[in-house]
């Protein structure tokens, strides 16, 4: 942020700027290297999108959406169960992660004193959980499902695993959004006689919705592409039925892709690429929506 004002006096294009501030060869070389670092990542992204599209375009057909997977007929197999399963699991994840995450963040940001031992301990836990490997959450969800006596390979177990996985992200995003709400809004509300809880529910949280939405959408898009924790739930790789409830069996698109990619026939590889295109389109759409929300409200403020 702070470098922005320094830039304004500078010429706009990179080359002109290089000539302005960087007269010697070494500095210009340095700038070129920095450019290449950034360009490399973007280039790989482009190559990944193009190759996936080329590999999968032949199977981007109606059967991908309407048919179940198959071991013997890859030409007509589809990802129907996986698409519906992803929808079910992400819905469950959102229902669990959003209320819990927003509530936890509200407690930490609006109510807990910085000296509260409990709050500091919670913060340490959130920070640590944010970097725990995703696959560990699968082991937790599997153990939890067995402990309460429901089958591991159910929508609810998958939802719990993914919700716990993204909970730290939702909490951090909500806290940042709450922190960005001007203090005056809270003070005005309290001065008019609202209780702290009313202030939170009617003023602070509504003002923070764009930030919370941005963070939550990104977190859900991450959950949608995650397969590792779900592998631990077992029995998910060959599912040929529509999920019909929280206790129903399911599979998801990333798991279906994982299964297809491991098979040797070319048709399965194409199928995996086609399903990848679908998943990428969804992820890019969600990211786009999140960025639009962020930019719209960032400029409005």
């Amino acid at each position: 942020m702070s470098a922005v004002t320094a830039d304004q006096a500078m010429p706009r294009t990179p080359l002109a700027r290089a000539a302005y501030g960087e007269k010697d060869l070494r500095s210009m070389g340095f700038l070129v290297v920095l450019w290449l670092c950034l360009a490399f990542g973007i280039l790989v992204l482009a190559v990944l999108l193009v190759t996936t599209f080329l590999d999968g375009r032949e199977r981007m057909d109606g059967e991908l959406f309407t048919n179940y997977t198959s071991q013997i007929a890859p030409e007509t197999a589809g990802a129907r169960a996986a698409i519906l399963g992803t929808a079910w699991v992400i819905l469950t994840t959102a229902l669990l992660a959003i209320p819990i995450g927003v509530a936890a963040a509200s407690y930490l940001e609006e109510f807990a004193s910085t000296r509260s031992r409990f709050a500091r301990f919670v913060e340490l836990n959130v920070q640590n959980l944010a970097a725990v490997p995703a696959i560990i959450y699968g082991m937790l969800a599997a153990a939890a499902a067995v402990a309460v006596g429901i089958p591991r390979n159910t929508v609810i177990a998958g939802g719990i695993a993914l919700a716990l996985l993204i909970l730290p992200v939702v909490i951090v995003a909500t806290r940042e959004a709450l922190r960005a709400v001007p203090q005056e809004i809270r003070q005005a509300s309290l001065a008019l006689g609202a209780t702290p809880m009313q202030t939170l529910a009617r003023q602070t949280l509504p003002a923070a919705v764009p930030g919370i939405a941005t963070g939550t959408i990104l977190a859900l898009s991450r959950a949608m592409g995650e397969a590792a924790p779900l592998l631990l739930l077992g029995g998910l790789v060959f599912v040929k039925f529509d999920p019909n409830g929280f206790l129903s069996g399911f599979t998801t698109m990333p798991i279906q892709i994982f299964d297809w990619a491991a098979r040797s026939q070319v048709e399965f590889q194409q199928l995996a690429a086609a399903a990848s295109i679908l998943l990428l389109v969804l992820v890019i759409l969600l990211n786009g929506v999140a960025i639009i929300i962020r930019n719209k409200y960032a400029t409005a403020r």
Partner: protein, 322 residues
């Protein structure tokens, strides 16, 4: 809650008019049970993260303890042969650790220079417009599902990029291809955190440097970078923990043969790769084979926990300075 707040006004007045002064109190005049329940919900929600940590430790430790009753801890940590599914069983975790070290090392070699370079450009050189366009695109790299990366590594990076373009004779599954793709996935993690750290360096430091006649490169390398070093270090440590914990790329592209990896062109199994493939198998719950999963799981958890705690300390220190 609206009906309650509407009723709160008159009751305050009536109580306020009571003669006895010791009845005047600043405490809430209505019980507000709904608010107390709401507050209870907030605290419970915050406690979920603590419960999660406890749950992870318990669900990993119980089967792991059973495992270590049958397998010596030292044999587990120092053994060089990992064959839990063979008739001649051996439980030395070192092959999985070498697999993880290779993929992680290669990934860091990719994401550290590229991520830091991108971060310096975005923080110190890019105009607001350029940053607003390029940063979301770069961050999309972290949003691409890991199975898609895995597919990319197996079908393109290994056979086409490494073999055809560069003539490197990698095997179908190789830790090199897996590590390279893993590194690309983590670039945004490094870039984003390092950029935050550098943006937090006060402008006065830069201006002082310019005032002394330093150009931009010198200012970046000698002033901004050292001032942001703890935040940058935290970004690298987080990248390390991401690389160690990532599962799908290595499960798909690094292979499933657990052996001491000495050549990056060959395949090898990582800790996460083993957990994924063992989970797909049909071992009976409670059996030694099944518990193996949790022994590796707890090793992975402890390893990342240590890395994370270091990172958290670094981040907190960097927050205190600015």
């Amino acid at each position: 809650m609206s009906h309650r707040s509407a009723g709160a006004g008159p009751s305050t007045v009536s109580r306020g008019l009571r003669p006895s002064p010791d009845r005047l109190s600043l405490r809430s005049t209505s019980p507000r049970r709904g608010e107390k329940a709401a507050f209870g919900f907030l605290v419970l929600a915050a406690a979920v993260s603590v419960l999660t940590t406890v749950g992870i430790v318990v669900s990993l430790a119980l089967p792991a303890v059973q495992f270590f009753r049958e397998v010596n801890v030292l044999d587990f940590l120092t053994g060089t042969s990992w064959t839990p599914r063979f008739t001649e069983k051996s439980y030395g975790v070192l092959p999985l650790i070498t697999g993880t070290l290779w993929t992680t090392g290669i990934a860091l070699a990719v994401c550290v220079p590229l991520g830091l370079g991108a971060a310096i450009y975005l923080s110190e050189y890019a105009s607001t417009g350029v940053r607003k366009t390029l940063k979301p695109i770069l961050e999309l790299l972290a949003g691409v599902p890991s199975v898609v990366y895995g597919l990319f590594a197996v079908t393109f990076v290994g056979p086409v990029v490494l073999k055809e373009w560069f003539g490197i004779q990698v095997q179908t599954f190789s830790v090199l291809a897996a590590g390279l793709v893993l590194g690309v996935m983590i670039i945004p993690t490094v870039a984003s955190l390092a950029e935050d750290a550098m943006s937090a360096v006060p402008r006065s430091l830069r201006e002082a440097s310019y005032g002394l006649g330093a150009n931009r490169m010198r200012t970046v390398l000698r002033v901004v970078f050292p001032a942001a070093v703890s935040g940058i270090a935290a970004s690298l440590v987080l990248a390390l923990s991401r690389a160690v914990g990532e599962t799908m790329i290595v499960a798909m592209a690094a292979g499933s043969q657990a052996k001491m990896v000495s050549d990056p062109l060959e395949g090898g199994q990582t800790m996460t790769g083993f957990i994924a493939s063992a989970a797909l198998g049909d071992s009976v719950q409670g059996s030694l084979q099944y518990n193996t999963l949790f022994a590796v799981g707890i090793t992975l958890f402890v390893l990342t926990l240590v890395i994370n705690l270091i990172s958290i300390r670094l981040v907190n220190r960097f927050r205190e300075i600015y």
